[in-house]
């Protein structure tokens, strides 16, 4: 019986591999298509204004709309390293801040009343200002457009808003694993401390001042450094006359703008991981520096990458192998993304369940190896070429595409028929070409592999690929501005602490506090509802800490031994490490007794800013402000920043406990919210032990 079954299985599987048997031809295979109409390339009017501004105009009378774009040779590639982020901010405030003739609000109102837009932005290797309006408002909007280009005022309040938003953006940049992946990959292959790296930080933003914006705009926005295109339901001759008049007074002259820096190849081969605990999937990239659009092998490289893992199609090798066959990834793709002026990257990107990270990466590497060792089949090659050939018409579906392309090619110094040359080159690509470029340009030994996700689930298995380096993706915190300090103010600061300590109960008594147990009753705002929480804090010298929060739905226990600990909640337990540990450490350094002993903390300086205000600065740069009442010499408030956000703890209702004055009311101000914590009990030197404090009950 068994033999029969085996035989029939063989028969069936052989049958399965055969070509369609007596099946009717699918209809699509019987169709004959007429030739595609040739697209008539529209005629673009080109000229240069007396002031050096190059202009292109393309008419299109189909719809009563008009638009235009100014392209300026500038970019983040030219901004100073210590002000990384400046160029993007210039682009935003240029528009939001309004002009000499009308402020931001007035400009917004005027444009929105007529459903028109004027927008500005600066990217890595170009800046642009664009407008879009109904034909009937063309004259008016053109003038507003010119104002934004020539005389933006960059008011302080709009700059402040953008700076706040930029800082918010920095604080959020680790929220999204895809974002982390992109930033880390870019920084590794291009070099974080180069113009091509992402080096915007709180500290660089802090260096951006209004005069920097004015200077940046002044340096780069001049007519000889710009190109202007106008499109839509307009008359070329009339527009030309209008522009000559309108821009006649834009006569700024500046030295030629420096060339963009070159890309310097980095030594970045290896495996790099970073932890992101709240994602089910690992986001990974594999690749290295690539090439430019002008490379002689660009066409072959794009066809190769298309076959390997071209985005937007299921019929590529990576999708077939990794998604369809092995179900390892929901999405995977590869690209040879070249740029006009600088090298792009070769990059495979995908996401997979944490447990299959190593498999997905290995399979991707296998496909790369296959591409470098075996010639692609004729069907695959033909299919890839057909895709490029047959979709070519969509690059000309609208006349505005021709205009934009012309401007790009002129801006970047490319021949005006570059796209046609590319199409021709693709049609000539052979399987040998693909094998050659795969071997020549794709270097697996130089691959930078980056994986972001729950590293404890995949880090070990990745060791098979080589040394696994852990990336530090923590966001460097901003340094607060320190007040002026000299020998006198520092001595006065020290003396003030001594006096405060004496008032509280005496330096020695404070030093003899070995542990405490503090019970707090507080009201928390949870999602619009006020919730009563009973909190018990236990501390043991020097840095052992335990906190128990009793909430309506259960107990939450936190324990920290100075280096690490745990967090236990009804839902489960997790280690207290990384940023949370840092948070707890910070809290302990701000503890009441620790503050009072500031003169004994190694590396801490106490500066008297003015009467009632002390600045405590540690060797690592972290800073606190301690306010005290000069009349009573009791501490009144502690102010500090955490995560770029300011917070304050107010001390009130002092009571004597074991000979020391302790604040029985703490007013916490954070996120614009004030919450009051009432200390119901505070006992000192109760004989705590680490064992008791680390209990999970």
């Amino acid at each position: 019986m068994k033999k029969l079954i085996v035989c029939s299985l063989i028969v069936v599987s052989a049958f399965a591999q055969q070509k369609p048997v007596k099946a009717p031809l699918p209809v699509y295979q019987t169709l004959k298509f007429p030739p595609l109409k040739q697209v008539q390339l529209p005629k673009v009017e080109q000229f240069t204004l007396p002031n050096g501004l190059k202009v292109m105009i393309l008419e299109n009378h189909e719809l009563p709309l008009a638009s235009g774009s100014l392209r300026v040779r500038t970019g983040s590639l030219l901004e100073p390293a210590d002000k990384a982020g400046l160029s993007g901010i210039v682009g935003q405030v240029m528009r939001s801040g309004g002009t000499k003739k009308r402020n931001g609000d007035a400009l917004n109102a005027k444009l929105e009343l007529i459903a028109a837009t004027v927008e500005a932005g600066i990217g890595d290797d170009s800046g642009s200002v664009g407008f879009n309006c109904l034909k009937e408002n063309f004259d008016e909007v053109l003038e507003l457009f010119k104002e934004v280009i020539v005389e933006p005022v960059f008011p302080q309040d709009r700059l402040d808003l953008v700076l706040t938003q930029t800082r918010s953006g920095i604080s959020r940049r680790n929220d999204d694993p895809g974002g982390i992946l992109n930033r880390e990959f870019q920084n590794l292959v291009y070099g974080k401390d180069t113009a091509y790296g992402d080096r915007e930080e709180y500290s660089t933003i802090a260096n951006v001042k209004r005069e920097d914006l004015v200077a940046f705009h002044d340096r780069y926005f001049f007519p000889a450094n710009a190109m202007l295109s106008i499109y839509g339901d307009v008359d070329s001759a009339a527009v030309k006359a209008k522009l000559e008049k309108l821009f006649a007074d834009w006569t700024t002259q500046r030295p030629a703008v420096p060339a963009f820096p070159a890309v310097t190849k980095q030594k970045a081969a290896g495996v790099y991981i970073a932890d992101k605990s709240d994602t089910e999937q690992t986001f990974f990239s594999i690749g290295h520096i690539g090439g430019k659009l002008s490379d002689k092998d660009y066409a072959a490289l794009t066809v190769m990458s298309n076959i390997l893992g071209g985005a937007g199609t299921f019929s590529n090798r990576l999708m077939q192998s990794i998604r369809s066959d092995k179900s390892l990834a929901y999405g995977i793709s590869s690209s040879w993304s070249a740029d006009y002026l600088h090298e792009g990257t070769f990059r495979i990107t995908g996401s997979t369940a944490a447990a299959t990270t190593d498999q997905a990466i290995m399979e991707s590497l296998k496909e790369v190896k296959r591409m470098r060792e075996e010639m692609v089949g004729p069907t695959e090659l033909e299919a890839a070429k057909q895709r490029v050939e047959n979709t070519f018409v969509f690059s000309f579906a609208s006349p505005v595409q021709t205009l934009n392309r012309l401007m790009n090619y002129q801006y970047y110094g490319y021949p005006s028929d570059f796209i046609n040359r590319y199409k021709d080159a693709v049609s000539k690509v052979t399987a040998q070409d693909i094998l050659r470029v795969a071997k020549e340009y794709i270097k697996p030994e130089e691959f930078t592999i980056v994986a972001i996700g729950q590293t404890e689930k995949f880090a070990d298995k990745l060791k098979a690929l080589g040394e696994v380096k852990k990336l530090d993706i923590s966001i460097p915190q901003p340094k607060a501005e320190a007040a002026k300090a000299d020998a006198g103010s520092l001595a006065a600061g020290k003396a003030a602490i001594d006096k405060i300590a004496a008032t509280v109960g005496g330096k020695d008594k404070i030093a003899s506090v070995n542990d405490y147990v503090q019970s707090i009753s507080s009201e928390l705002n949870m999602g619009g509802n006020k919730v009563n929480v009973k909190q018990t804090n236990s501390w043991l010298k020097p840095m052992v800490f335990r906190q128990v929060n009793e909430l309506p739905f259960g107990k939450i226990i936190a324990f920290f031994d100075g280096e690490k600990g745990f967090l236990k909640a009804p839902q489960g337990e997790q280690p207290l490490a990384g940023p949370f540990a840092a948070q707890v450490k910070g809290q302990l350094q701000r503890d009441y007794f620790a503050i009072l002993q500031s003169n004994e903390v190694a590396g801490r300086s106490v500066n008297l800013v003015k009467e009632g205000e002390l600045e405590l600065k540690d060797a690592n740069g972290s800073m606190l402000k301690l306010f005290y009442d000069p009349k009573t010499m009791l501490p009144s408030k502690l102010a500090f920043t955490e995560g770029g956000i300011g917070a304050e703890i107010g001390y009130g209702d002092f009571k004597e406990v074991s000979g020391l004055k302790l604040p029985m009311q703490l007013n916490i101000t954070q996120n614009g919210q004030v919450s009051t914590q009432t200390v119901t009990d505070w006992k000192l030197n109760t004989g705590l032990t680490v064992a008791a404090m680390s209990s999970k009950e």
């Binding site: 369609p20 169709l31 609000d105 917004n108 369809s324 018409v393 999602g527």
Partner: protein, 498 residues
């Protein structure tokens, strides 16, 4: 049913739109096949390209009970091919697919034996099912349907499922018009739901990605279930995991039989086409499509809401808050007022939310209003979406938004603001004419929803009549706490700070 076209010349301040509607009418041809399929054709000879949009009047709101997410399955199944496209051997494949169903039936039967279920038998039946699926998959010519179209020059090949509809779209070079007819009619008339259970797994993965790994996705999903007590809009197109993991091939066939019928199909074609040729090809390829009567769908309406509803979703990433006010469907006479309020509140730098909350008080990073959410056929929500700025909370954002909304009820907005809104809606319509794919979508969905594609333009008549007083009345009537559902993300409890 939207009103008849009024004398346009009398209506509009700028002649341009009137002129445009007259031009547009010349370019539109509409016809209906004997079997009930409606075609709307828009001629645009600028470039030799064409866009297609096939609208099926069935969406996730029509998912049968216990099969949430089924309409979404169709979206995926539509790319699996037909009896002639995508198979290496149809007779064997169909046999193998039947064997899969038999194996699955046997497995289900054993599982349903309750205390009599044999764990060993279940294991062996599971193995059997797995093998049967592998065998059937062996007859698949992978991705053939998509490959044929992409290699012929298709771009934007895509589909989506919303609560109200399922739509299939693409653009092709104009000389490939007949290819579209051959392929599209084939997948409506002769589809084969191959790789069904594999794709069911992909749908489950998609749920993981969109809902389980995305805080905004999760918030929206939960919001719908809380805001809508009885309305079928309460279940997102993403479905319910346990339903997804259990629906069968027969369920999909039943859904198709009920909803994928000619009278439920509106197809729009926009671009470089000759309407006569389109009609000829439509007759040639789509006439053979048969099917039952136009389905009525669930009649369940939303029960009255008697007080504000609130929900929280724990998430460690940036806070978000979503506020939804109950509102009538798109056919209601008040429909246009919601579009007006949405723009007044949240579109543009001079909108009330942006100016006060984002720019002046810096309470929010983003503040938007969506007039119709998640669909327009049934009673739905006027939704407000807020992202607090660093250092601000979702409560801060809510408070600020309510203050602005209260003002809308007591202070008439300026004439300038009314003019801004009307001009914007008008301009948006004109700008939408610049896109074949946009036009195809607009024409098909407008025809399906209102019965008349012209409603796309005549809606502006209703807009013109709206006064500042009308806005106040609408705000007072609809934007009230009793009508409201509020959803916000909160930090997980473990991370509650001292």
């Amino acid at each position: 049913m939207k009103r008849i076209i009024l004398a346009l010349a009398a209506l509009l301040p700028a002649a341009m739109l009137g002129q445009n509607l007259a031009d547009i009418e010349k370019r539109v041809t509409e016809f209906k096949l004997a079997n009930g399929i409606t075609f709307v054709v828009y001629e645009r000879h600028q470039a030799p390209v064409v866009s297609f949009f096939s609208h099926v009047n069935a969406g996730s709101a029509d998912d049968p009970k216990g099969q949430a997410g089924l309409a979404h399955m169709f979206e995926h199944m539509a790319f699996k091919g037909t009896r002639t496209v995508g198979t290496l051997n149809l007779p064997e494949e169909l046999k193998a697919m039947e064997a899969v169903e038999a194996a699955y039936d046997a497995l289900t039967a054993e599982r349903n034996k309750g205390s009599e279920t044999s764990a060993d038998k279940v294991k062996s039946l599971e193995e059997g099912l797995k093998k049967a699926i592998e065998k059937a998959n062996g007859f698949v010519d992978k991705e053939r349907f998509t490959k044929v179209l992409e290699e012929s020059g298709a771009v934007g090949l895509n589909a989506f499922t919303s609560l109200d509809e399922t739509a299939y779209m693409m653009s092709l070079p104009a000389n490939k018009l007949e290819l579209w007819f051959a392929m599209e009619s084939d997948r409506f008339i002769n589809p084969v739901f191959r790789e069904f259970y594999n794709e069911r797994g992909v749908i489950r993965e998609e749920y993981r990605q969109r809902i389980e790994s995305d805080p905004t996705g999760r918030l929206v999903y939960e919001m719908l279930t809380v805001a809508f007590a009885t309305n079928p809009y309460r279940t997102s197109p993403a479905g319910i995991p346990s339903d997804i993991e259990s629906y069968r091939f027969a369920d999909a066939m039943a859904f198709r039989k009920q909803y994928y019928v000619p009278s439920n199909l509106v197809i729009a074609i926009a671009g470089d086409v000759d309407p006569a040729e389109v009609k000829r090809l439509a007759e040639k390829y789509f006439s053979k499509m048969t099917g039952g009567p136009k389905p009525t769908g669930m009649m369940t309406k939303e029960n009255e809401q008697f007080g504000e509803k609130r929900l929280l979703v724990e998430s460690p990433s940036q806070p978000l808050v979503l506020i939804g006010y109950k509102r009538p469907n798109s056919l209601d006479k008040d429909d246009v007022l919601f579009d007006v309020m949405a723009i007044l509140l949240g579109t543009g730098r001079t909108s009330l939310f942006y100016k006060e909350m984002v720019q002046d008080k810096k309470i929010a990073l983003a503040a938007q209003a969506i007039p119709t959410f998640p669909g327009g056929r049934r009673e739905n929500l006027f939704a407000v979406f807020l992202v607090p700025n660093a250092g601000k909370t979702t409560e801060d954002c809510e408070k600020a938004a309510y203050e602005i909304i209260e003002r809308l009820k007591t202070e008439k907005v300026s004439e300038e603001q009314m003019k801004r809104v009307k001009t914007l809606l008008r301009a948006q319509l004109i700008r939408s004419l610049d896109s074949n794919s946009g036009m195809a979508q607009n024409l098909a969905t407008t025809k399906a929803m209102f019965g008349n594609w012209r409603a796309l333009f005549t809606q502006l008549d209703d807009l013109d009549k709206v006064t500042a007083e009308d806005v106040m009345v609408a705000a007072k009537k609809y934007l009230i706490a009793k009508n409201r559902t509020v959803g916000a993300t909160v930090q997980p409890a473990q991370q509650a700070k001292k």
